[in-house]
Each structure stands twice: as structure tokens, then as C-alpha cells.
């Protein structure tokens, strides 16, 4: 112990600028060769840095150091890391960052501008249409599209599947892929590729569709058009009438043609056209899309139910909660554990809501108290966590998915960090904590969407793997200190019970969103198995 004290004193002398060359050389040698010393060095500096970052009381004057102090305000905690370089950044990030602009170098004048968000919310709707239905969409950019979201002017392209757009101007459009649309404003769209059917009520007359070989102005109708890849384009009028002009002719009246209900035309890229028979059935109506959607949903629900039932016989399952509301006991979360045993979770606060499908229920977590208390007995060399959830917001520094009580050795914490990373936190030894994390996976688009998350702690492969929607997102080797059996025991879904000490902000970890399935396997699943769970359960 005395040697350590001597070493620490030597550290201090170096940091305070009192050391001579010999002492410095000694420090360097120790840093190079002694990993414990290196850690101690960093821990010492860590204390120094943390002290410098602590919030100070407002009315501090440094003249009389022993003056009686006011209570420290912990509201600045979020900003204490920013203080040191606030001046520099404040200069750089000028426009629009009102929060940072209001910080100046002195801690005494920091104004809090909301605890959890750094940048003020923008209340601005640049949308011109709403995406109201999708079915079987495939394409590189389609995963970001959410039903119900407003679509701003811009391009939408996809390889397969149907979607329905309701334009602010009043027109409803169903488009079948492969397609490429450029939305100009609330009553104009360019169709570069795809099969489109539009219903344009009276008040939306004048809805315009631009295609490579013509400009179509609707006069209060229902029509369909098919723009193919380089070939001839087709126009079919099912009801009412439309006007057609040559493309880029600026609606030259000499090119004007009128088509009525029952008329149909093909137009070549060179402008030549010939009449054809109108084919109503080829163009999907909103009603038909709704039926297709419903049928597909029923099918998926069926697949999922079969999967749910199969888990009853899966020996690897140590906890399975399908989140199906029980009419008779709706404050209990019914599930099953190993060997067909029943597991019951105690629901606190959470309200039942809709899940991935309208026929399935989920639990909604909103308020700080909302949680489900469960107990998962047993010890495991490897574990797999799997959940279907919808994250509505990342309000806390850590947002709980499944956290064991306290933070005991080898009792994992499965959670989402405020910056959007999925984290499996494990205390491998008393003072060896490690968070195995992904990159940020919850950006603005993923919030509000049903997502499948899975994390595998694999003792055999000595790694932790995280999966998002069935795809591997991160693989990290286990820490050297890892190696013991994991246990869950008393744990909480969507919150943290028995948080360690009084960390206040750090301790509040209530989840904001809905969860509609949770599975814990006492074994490590492989990539294919995780993907299968995702595919069988996707809404």
C-alpha cells in the first residue's frame, strides 16, 4: 500500500509540475510496463476531470474561498461536459443552435434549455402528401418509410410492392412498383416509372401527372397510367375525363387531347399514340389495396401464431412472453419458462395497446413508474435476448429493455442508450463494467416503427452479437474478465427496479414505447435462427 501511495505522490508531482527528469522517466517507465499503474493514473486523472466538471452554485465568488455555499444545481449536469469548449463550438455552430448560443464560458451563466434535447424542435410541415398504406414493399430506401408519415417534395423509388399516397390537394394515388416518382407539390407528381391509379375528387381537379411522353391534367376523375422502362406509356380513363398534352410542350394547345371514361391510349416516347382497350382490373384501386393488405396481414399473423406455439416445445427457451392480454387478469403478463413452467410478470402502470398487428396486443410504457416485474431463474453460460418493440422516444440516458435488479456481477442489463445504441451492459467483476454496444440504430426514422432487436451473448464463440431486424449489426469479442455464468433472477421489463445508489438521472430508465414480445433463450442462437424469428414475426 505504501508503494502505491508513493507512486500516486509521484503522479501528483508530475501533474503539478514539480517533478524532475528522473521522476518523469520513472513515471513513463511505469506507464509503459505496469498496466495497473496505468489504470490508477487514469483513475486519478478521471477524478480530477470529474471534479472540474461538477456543477457549481450560481452565486460563487472566488474572493473568499471559505464563504458559505448555496445548494448546487444539478440541472446543469447535461451541459457540464460542454462547458470547457463551449466558447469554441459556440463560434462554429452559429445559425439555429439556440441552446449552445446561450452558453458562455462561465458556468454561472448557463441557462438550461430543456433536459433531454439539445436542439429545439422544429414545428414545420414541409409535407405535401401522406403515405397511408403499403403492401409488400421492397427496395433500398423503403425501410425508412412509415405509414402515416407526411411526405415532402422529393423522389420515391422502389423495386416491388404497392403504396398509397393521399395528396394534400385531395387526390388519392395507388402506385405499383417497380416505380420511381418525383413528388413536386400537393397536386403534381412526375411518374418516371410504375403503374399508377389516381382517384381525383371534384375539389382536386387539376391534379397533374407528368410522364416522359406526356403531361396529364385531370378534370375530376379516376384514371390509370403505366410508365414502363423505356417503352410505350399507357393512359386509361375509368371515370370522368382528362386532358393530355405533349411532354414539355408547356401545355401547347395544339397538342391537347381529351380522353373520356372508357378511353385508353398508348403513347410512345416519340409522341405517337394509338388507342387501346381500357383495362380497369390492371390498376389497383385503394379498396383492392386495402384487401391485399388485410389478407397479407392475416397470413403473417397466422405465421407468427404458429411460431409462438412452437416455442412452447423449444427447450432453449427460459422465458417467453407473447404479450397477449388476458381478459381475466390484465395486470398479469402471462408467459412460460423452461420445461413448460408458467412465468407470470407483474404489470405496474403499463396500459394494453395495439401491437404489430391490430389483432395483437402490446404493452405501452409511458410514465416513469411503468414496468413489468419478472423473475427468470437459472444460470447460463450463454444467453439470447429477442424482442419486438416500438420505440417512441429515447428520453433517458439509458432506456431499459430488460434490466436485472441492481447491477450485480454477471447479471446483464439490456437497454438502449440515448444516442440510439443497443447496449448489453455486464459487470464482469466488481470494478470491471463493460457495455457491449452497437452504433446508433435509432434515428428519427426508426422511432415509432416496429423493430426486432436481438442480442446474443455467446460463451463458445466468446462474443456478443447484436441484431436489428434479423441482420447482424455488431459483433464484439468478450472482455478478458468475462467467463462466468450469467443470471437474471429478479428483473424488470421497460424500467429499472432497485437502481444502484442514488444516481438520480442516471437511475431513471423507463422505456418510452410499446413492447409486444420478449424471448430469453438459455443458449446462443445463430444468425439464421435470429433472422427466422424476425421473418416470421414481421408486420
Amino acid at each position: 500500500m505504501s508503494q502505491r501511495k508513493t507512486q500516486l505522490e509521484m503522479m501528483r508531482r508530475c501533474l503539478d509540475g514539480e517533478a524532475n527528469d528522473e521522476e518523469f522517466a520513472r513515471l513513463e517507465e511505469l506507464l509503459r510496463n505496469d498496466p495497473d499503474f496505468r489504470e490508477d493514473y487514469l483513475r486519478y486523472l478521471n477524478v480530477d476531470l470529474a471534479l472540474a466538471a461538477l456543477p457549481q452554485p450560481t452565486s460563487r465568488r472566488s474572493h473568499d474561498p471559505l464563504q458559505h455555499l448555496e445548494e448546487q444545481k444539478s440541472a446543469w449536469r447535461l451541459f457540464r461536459g460542454i462547458v470547457g469548449w463551449a466558447a469554441a463550438i459556440g463560434l462554429l455552430l452559429l445559425a439555429g443552435i439556440h441552446v449552445l448560443q446561450s452558453i458562455d464560458g462561465k458556468r454561472g451563466e448557463i441557462r438550461t434549455a430543456g433536459e433531454d434535447t439539445l436542439v429545439p424542435e422544429d414545428v414545420n410541415d414541409s409535407g405535401v402528401a401522406v403515405l397511408t398504406r403499403v403492401s409488400g414493399l421492397q427496395g433500398p430506401t423503403t425501410t425508412d418509410w412509415r405509414v402515416g408519415e407526411t411526405i415532402p417534395p422529393g423522389t420515391m423509388a422502389w423495386d416491388e410492392g404497392l403504396l398509397q399516397l393521399e395528396f394534400y390537394g385531395g387526390a388519392t394515388v395507388v402506385v405499383e412498383g417497380p416505380a420511381e416518382l418525383e413528388i413536386i407539390d400537393e397536386s403534381r407528381v412526375v411518374c418516371l416509372l410504375g403503374r399508377l391509379r389516381a382517384h381525383v375528387p371534384e375539389l382536386a381537379r387539376g391534379f397533374v401527372v407528368l410522364a416522359p411522353s406526356f403531361e396529364l391534367v385531370d378534370l375530376g376523375t379516376e384514371f390509370g397510367l403505366n410508365v414502363s422502362d423505356g417503352g410505350a406509356d399507357e393512359i386509361h380513363v375509368f371515370d370522368g375525363k382528362i386532358e393530355l398534352f405533349d411532354a414539355e410542350s408547356n401545355r401547347d394547345l395544339t397538342t391537347r387531347r381529351e380522353l373520356n371514361a372508357g378511353d385508353a391510349l398508348t403513347v410512345d416516347r416519340d409522341g405517337s399514340s394509338k388507342p387501346i382497350a381500357a383495362r380497369d382490373a390492371d390498376f389497383v384501386t385503394p379498396m383492392r389495396l386495402s384487401q391485399i393488405s388485410d389478407a397479407r396481414r392475416q397470413e403473417q399473423l397466422g405465421d407468427w401464431r404458429a411460431f409462438r406455439d412452437s416455442l412452447r416445445d423449444d427447450p432453449r427457451v427460459v422465458a417467453y412472453f407473447p404479450f397477449e392480454r388476458s381478459e381475466s387478469e390484465d395486470r398479469k403478463l402471462i408467459g412460460h419458462g423452461a420445461n413448460g413452467s408458467t412465468l407470470t410478470g407483474a404489470i405496474v402502470g403499463c396500459e394494453w395497446s395495439e401491437g404489430r398487428w391490430s389483432e395483437k396486443s402490446s404493452l405501452q410504457f409511458k410514465r416513469p413508474g411503468d414496468r413489468v416485474r419478472i423473475n427468470v431463474p437459472g444460470e447460463f453460460a450463454s444467453l439470447t435476448y429477442s424482442t419486438w418493440l416500438r420505440v417512441d422516444g429515447l428520453d433517458r440516458q439509458y432506456n431499459s429493455l430488460l434490466l436485472t435488479d441492481g447491477f450485480d456481477k454477471n447479471s446483464p442489463h439490456w437497454q438502449i442508450h440515448q444516442n440510439g445504441c443497443l447496449v448489453l451492459g455486464i459487470r464482469h467483476a466488481k470494478t470491471r463494467i463493460h457495455g457491449y454496444k452497437t452504433d446508433s440504430i435509432f434515428n428519427l426514422f426508426r422511432l415509432g416503427q416496429w423493430v426486432h432487436l436481438a442480442t446474443v451473448y455467446d460463451a463458445d464463440q466468446a462474443c456478443v452479437k447484436h441484431y436489428v431486424n434479423g441482420k447482424l449489426a455488431k459483433r464484439e469479442p468478450l472482455q478478458k474478465a468475462a467467463g462466468d455464468m450469467l443470471k437474471i433472477g429478479n428483473a424488470t421489463i421497460g424500467n429499472w427496479s432497485v437502481p444502484t445508489m442514488r444516481r438520480r438521472k442516471f437511475s431513471v430508465r423507463n422505456f418510452n414505447g410499446c413492447i409486444d414480445e420478449l424471448i430469453v433463450f438459455g443458449k446462443a442462437l445463430d444468425d439464421q435462427e435470429v433472422r427466422r424469428i424476425y421473418q416470421v414475426g414481421r408486420p
Binding site: 508530475c14 486523472l45 477524478v47 476531470l49 474572493h63 469548449w85 436542439v119 450485480d408
Partner: protein, 177 residues
């Protein structure tokens, strides 16, 4: 600021704040002087923002950020450091590795620190709060207290050691096993 710029700097802030404390610790471990390391951190922040590439994932950003920090420390030492004592290059590598390895534990320790400061006897707490106030020069402070500078440094050192012990205890207590 338009939509795209806003996204860009949100992304930057997210990534930067995730690593800010680790970077600061890294810089400090190579530059003894607190003022100097603060200055270098500001330069680091500026360079990271100016050259920020939003397509970087966390791991790449981290690697890059530590690289920039190392570079800024080196150029600061070359141009400005008052300290004639300079670490060899391999030390920087070791410090970077250790900082990253211990990142989670060190974060928990920082969080525990506030409670530990609260547990200090009142006079020690006052001393520490005053000494760490921005703009306070320890030599001036010692004079005002009627102490030698050496005495003040040693006293602060002892308090830091107490805090280190407290923090370690708190962390161990958390793992009630």
C-alpha cells in the same frame, strides 16, 4: 440552418458527446497541465467539426477522433508546451488503448464522484469546490488561505485519493455479490 445541416450537426453532437470525456481524459493523460489540455481539447473539437464526415459510424468516428486528439497534442507540444518533459510516442498508444478499455468503468466512477464529494467533510468539500472553480489560480488561493502552494497541492491530492477510494467502494457496492 437547413434540414441537411441540422441532421449533420445533430449527428456530430451525438458522436462527439459520446466520446468527449474519454477524449478529454486521453488528452489530459498526455498533457499534465489542465489549462493546456483544455486548450488542446478546444482545438480538437474544432477540427472534428470542420472535418466531420457524417457517414462515419461510431467506431470509425472514435478511431478518427483519437487520431485527431493525438495529433493536436503532438503539435501543441511541438509549438507551445511549457513543459520540457515529453512522453515517448508509445505512451500515447497505450493511453489511448487503456482509456477506451476502461471507458465504461471510468464513466461509472465519474457518476459516483458527485455523491462522494457530497460525503466529504464540509471544509474539504469547500476546498475542492473552490480549487476547481474556473479562473481560480491555486497559488493565489494558497496565499489567501495563508498556506504554501505545496501545502495546498498536497491537501488537494489527499482529497483526490479519498475520493478515489470512495468511488471504488461505491462501484464495488453496486455489485452486491
Amino acid at each position: 440552418m437547413d434540414e441537411g445541416d441540422r441532421e449533420q450537426h445533430d449527428q456530430f453532437l451525438r458522436l462527439f458527446m459520446e466520446h468527449e470525456e474519454a477524449l478529454r481524459l486521453f488528452v489530459r493523460s498526455l498533457l499534465f497541465n489542465q489549462e493546456e489540455s483544455r486548450e488542446v481539447m478546444q482545438e480538437v473539437a474544432i477540427v472534428l467539426w470542420r472535418k466531420f464526415d457524417a457517414s462515419l459510424d461510431i467506431l470509425s468516428f472514435r478511431r478518427w477522433a483519437f487520431g485527431v486528439a493525438k495529433m493536436e497534442v503532438l503539435s501543441f507540444r511541438r509549438d507551445r508546451a511549457r513543459d520540457r518533459l515529453i512522453f515517448s510516442d508509445d505512451i500515447a498508444e497505450l493511453m489511448e488503448r487503456t482509456v477506451l478499455q476502461q471507458a465504461d468503468t471510468l464513466e461509472h466512477e465519474r457518476i459516483a464522484l458527485e455523491d462522494c464529494v457530497g460525503k466529504l467533510p464540509a471544509d474539504q468539500r469547500e476546498l475542492v469546490n473552490t480549487a476547481y472553480e474556473p479562473g481560480v489560480k491555486k497559488n493565489d488561493m494558497a496565499r489567501e488561505l495563508g498556506w504554501t502552494s505545496m501545502a495546498l497541492y498536497k491537501k488537494l491530492h489527499r482529497i483526490r485519493l479519498l475520493l478515489m477510494e470512495c468511488v471504488r467502494r461505491e462501484l464495488a457496492l453496486e455489485g452486491r455479490s
